[in-house]
Amino acid sequence: MAVSKEEILHIAKLADLKIEENEIDEYAKNLEDILNFAQIINSVDTENVKESIGTLNNVNVFRKDEVKEFEDKEALLQNATEQEDGMFRIPKVI
């Protein structure tokens, strides 16, 4: 399973990560190693087997759609690098 330079850069872009030119080979090799190892699952017969998204069988866990005020908004905001008037500040987007 060979992973090309273009593929690594494409995946990094999807993940919002920057991979420098001199890091590409190592990321590609690590990804190839684990993908080659993971090939083993292709030898399992999964015809007519359904996918599992978890281990419990509970589906559609409903709760009332109620507004609950978070008690300490200051505590939430204090973790932002930049804030203003109770809002998170970001650079201009348009």
Binding site: E7, I8, H10, I11, A12, L14, A15, D16, L17, K18, Y27, N30, L31, D33, I34, L35, F37, A38, Q39, I40, I41, N42, V44, T46, V49, K50, E51, S52, I53, G54, T55, L56, N58, V61, R63, F70, D72, A75, L76, Q78, N79, A80, T81, E82, F88, I90, P91, V93
Partner: protein, 483 residues
């Protein structure tokens, strides 16, 4: 015997008899931390002075556990305390709320001595992937404590905390417990709320106790288990008293031994030690049978595909805007996202995000992610059918004892192999407890895991307790802090 050497149930007994005070207990741990933390490096944040302050205000205990100290892995939110996940990304993050498990401990009055080191975002098996420090194994300071809850396991083994909470996605409670010679329990998925646990892989993550003995494990499980409406995957099952399972009796207990767990990749001394423990069970009246669990061979690959896929999605939230590290190098909003993530995450986290993004990406989704989800169904099915025949499955916890720090850190795949024995249990969502069953020729602890059916923690606790009472590992072996 020093107070810090006692288990929590022994401390409680002495408190009830008025032989000791809460202040003496906390001070004993603070002295111990001052003495050993420089060697072990288990803590990211110490809150021992605050704990002492709280304990000194207690005139009379209102609840059984009021004033009892505990250590918490640094991926669980404690309001007002730094919760870093041992990542530069969250180095200055102060949790704005309590995890549900912390709420539960607070209701009982427990006090936290501090936040414990871990592999960054719980991704690793050695705690070497922490962005802040390398934790050492108290049995030999040159060796890894295991991971990702390496800080928690080493702090318990070094008697710097009486017990701790860890989290286990693919073995992160059990494997470090095994490498540090302590007891680690991963409950059934859904038994303990994940609210306020910083997510790695949501369908696999579970919080559980790391303790000095099985009795403390049952006691701590009592304190943290229970349905929580804030976690929609939390199971609505009846509340149990796990201490009722502390019964010294395995007569007639049906134990299955999966032969796949004793073959290639398992260290011989580990294999022999676990087999000897199984013989002991036979002597104590259990019915032991070898069986085949062929799907176990596929669990590691299945785990890494599913866990990394979920991680790549979960860690998408770290964008430098509302909390977490924000880059100084940006012009556009997109620069903030990309540069904050690239500078804030460590290498192993980025490797797993890349793998997870790859297996979820167009063209590969069916071949990897969907296929792994189907294999997961078969893994669950094989465990379920095994539990129609057996009450408990016994296997090694880790393929190796603790190895040298730095020995395997250059080869990611080699490190992933350390999860060989533990991951199938998370993929199947069943409970498992790791207890010490001996030491190797170098005196490093070996652990075995007792695996049970979903929501049947009682049976594995009973089986673990019986072996522990019979062999008294703790009384015969102690960490030596040698170099």
């Amino acid at each position: 015997m020093e107070l810090y050497e006692l288990t929590v149930h022994e401390l409680l007994e002495k408190l009830d008899n008025k032989e000791i005070t809460l202040e003496e207990i906390t001070k004993s741990y603070i002295d111990r931390i001052n003495d050993k933390e420089k060697d072990v490096q288990a803590f990211v944040t110490l809150t021992d002075k605050e704990a002492l302050g709280k304990v000194q205000t207690i005139k009379e205990r209102k609840t059984k556990f009021e004033g009892i100290p505990i250590g918490i892995k640094d991926n669980m939110c404690i309001k007002g305390t730094k919760t870093t996940c041992s990542s530069k990304m969250l180095e200055n993050f102060i949790a704005p709320y309590n995890a549900t498990v912390i709420e539960k401990l607070n209701e009982e009055g427990l006090v936290s001595l501090g936040k414990l080191n871990m592999d960054e975002f719980a991704m690793g098996t050695t705690t070497e992937h922490s962005a802040f420090k390398k934790t050492c194994n108290p049995w030999n300071l040159n060796k890894v404590p295991g991971g990702s809850s390496g800080g928690a396991a080493s702090a318990v083994a070094a008697n710097m905390v009486p017990w701790a909470l860890g989290s286990d996605t693919g073995g992160s409670i059990r494997q470090p417990a095994s490498l540090c010679g302590v007891v680690g329990l991963k409950p059934t998925y859904g038994l303990v709320s994940r609210y306020g646990l910083i997510a790695y892989a949501s369908s696999l993550d579970q919080i559980g106790p790391i303790t000095k003995d099985v009795e403390d494990s049952a006691i701590l499980l009592n304190l943290i288990a229970g349905h929580d409406e804030k976690d929609s995957t939390s199971a609505n099952v009846d509340k149990k008293d796990y201490t009722k399972a502390l019964v010294r009796d395995v007569k007639g207990l049906k134990i299955g031994v999966p032969k796949e767990y004793f073959g290639e990749g398992i260290n011989e001394e580990v294999s022999i030690s676990v087999k000897n423990a199984i013989k002991k069970y036979e002597e104590m009246g259990a019915i032991v049978e070898e069986f085949s669990l062929p799907i176990a061979d596929y669990a590691l690959a299945t785990y890494y595909i599913i866990a990394c896929a979920e991680a790549s999605s979960n860690l998408g939230r770290f964008d430098g805007i509302r909390y977490g590290y924000r880059t100084k190098n940006f012009e556009s909003l997109k620069d903030i996202y990309v540069n904050s993530r690239t500078e804030g995450f460590g290498d192993e986290v980025k490797r797993r995000i890349i793998l997870g993004t790859y297996v979820l990406s167009s063209g590969y989704y069916d071949a990897y992610y969907k296929k792994a989800q189907k294999v997961r169904t078969l893994i669950k099915d094989q465990f379920n059918s095994a539990f129609e025949k057996y009450d408990v499955i016994i296997a090694p916890t880790a393929p190796n004892v603790a190895f040298n720090i730095g020995e395997k850190s250059n080869n990611p795949l080699e490190l992933y192999m350390e999860d060989l024995c533990t991951v199938p249990i998370n993929v199947a969502g069943v409970p498992s407890i790791s207890i010490p069953c001996g030491v190797n020729s170098e005196g490093m602890p070996i652990g075995m895991q007792l695996i049970g059916k979903q929501f049947d923690e009682e049976t594995i606790i009973r089986a673990a307790y019986t072996y522990e009472q019979e062999t008294k590992f703790m009384e015969n072996y102690r960490p030596t802090f040698k170099n």
